[in-house]
Amino acid sequence: MADTAFSPPPTRRLPLPGRAQRRGALGILVVLALWQISVWLIDLPAYFYPAPTDVFAAFVELMHKGILPAYLLDSAGRYGAGVALGLSMGVGFGLLIGLSRFWSRLLAPLINFFYAIVEVAWIPLLVIWIGYGFNTILIAITYVVFFPVLYNTLTGVRTVQPVLINAMRTLGANRRQVVTSVILPSALPNIITGFRVGAGFAFRGLIFAEMIAAGSGLGFLIFEGATTRQTDRVVVGMIMMGLLWLLLDRLLLRPVERATIERWGLIRAQGDGA
């Protein structure tokens, strides 16, 4: 007892990167090395096939000139607004269709029809109707997020165990209480899964929309780089897209999904997965 009373408090070490992370980093380094070697071997003009060093120089230049931070912020704002709107609409319509046979019969064929029309097909029409800029991009992202969230919400609502609903009704709960206390919490893991899938698709929608309908943002950076033969900038835009998605998924979407499933889901999360 006396020994432990005066022992120093246990020191908390920062967790060292695991084997998976080390291997991931090694994979990236190998790809970069192969890329650089291929540039030396093939010896093509830099505008045609830029080297990693050119891309890094373009990244530094874009940061120095304030272009990349501004474009990143623009894209992030559009993405956040579109995902939030798509999520709320998807959940709203999912609940509506899942809870009401009338709305289900009325809307299901329409939704199935529009699901098949990809957002890229809408963008030229949206540009004619609304013009270039934020609103067109917002609608494009919302459209992309809407369907996965809606279908997952629908699955969540329709797979609620009837015994739980019956139990609530037996206890005298009204329709609103059944929805808020049983159906929504039960459907939440599905909704969050739909949100994660939709957020991934939204990223593609954002880039497509910015290429056609914006004067700023990562999609515009890629488009402008291609038209001015600044391929190093195109690659910077592509790498930023990949990095952003990786960070968003690892630091926000995946932990939120796991936490939701742990709290409300029937299946306990088993580790990280791929």
């Binding site: 120095h64 272009i67 939120v256």
Partner: protein, 108 residues
């Protein structure tokens, strides 16, 4: 403080907090940059014609930023000439770290 957050929510909460903190930091630095960059300009002067000095030649992105502030007249060795600038727009422009200095336009 961090220990109070349920473990499952720690990463998302820390991520959002870090982003918010970084944006607040950028806003503070931008404010300081604006004060330094605009030190030599009387913003109440009319017409407010200025030269915006940058450490590089402006690109389309910068020209669009200038056009939001006033009438962009062109790029000289002194910098970008903006005529009839809006004081509030100039304050916004000066918050950018890529702006070295904003000076009143000297007419010879």
């Amino acid at each position: 403080m961090i220990a109070r957050i349920p473990e499952a929510w720690r990463t998302p909460v820390l991520t959002v907090s870090t982003v918010a903190l970084a944006m607040a930091g950028a806003a503070v630095v931008g404010g300081m940059n604006a004060r330094d960059a605009l030190a030599g300009v009387d913003l109440s002067r009319k017409p407010l014609d200025v030269t915006v000095r940058l450490p590089f030649e402006p690109e389309r992105f910068h020209l669009e930023a200038f056009q939001e502030v006033g009438r962009y007249q062109g790029w000289t060795e002194d910098g970008a000439v903006i005529r009839a600038a809006d004081p509030e727009g100039l304050r916004r422009l000066a918050r950018n770290y890529w702006v070295d200095e904003i000076a009143a336009l000297e007419i010879d």
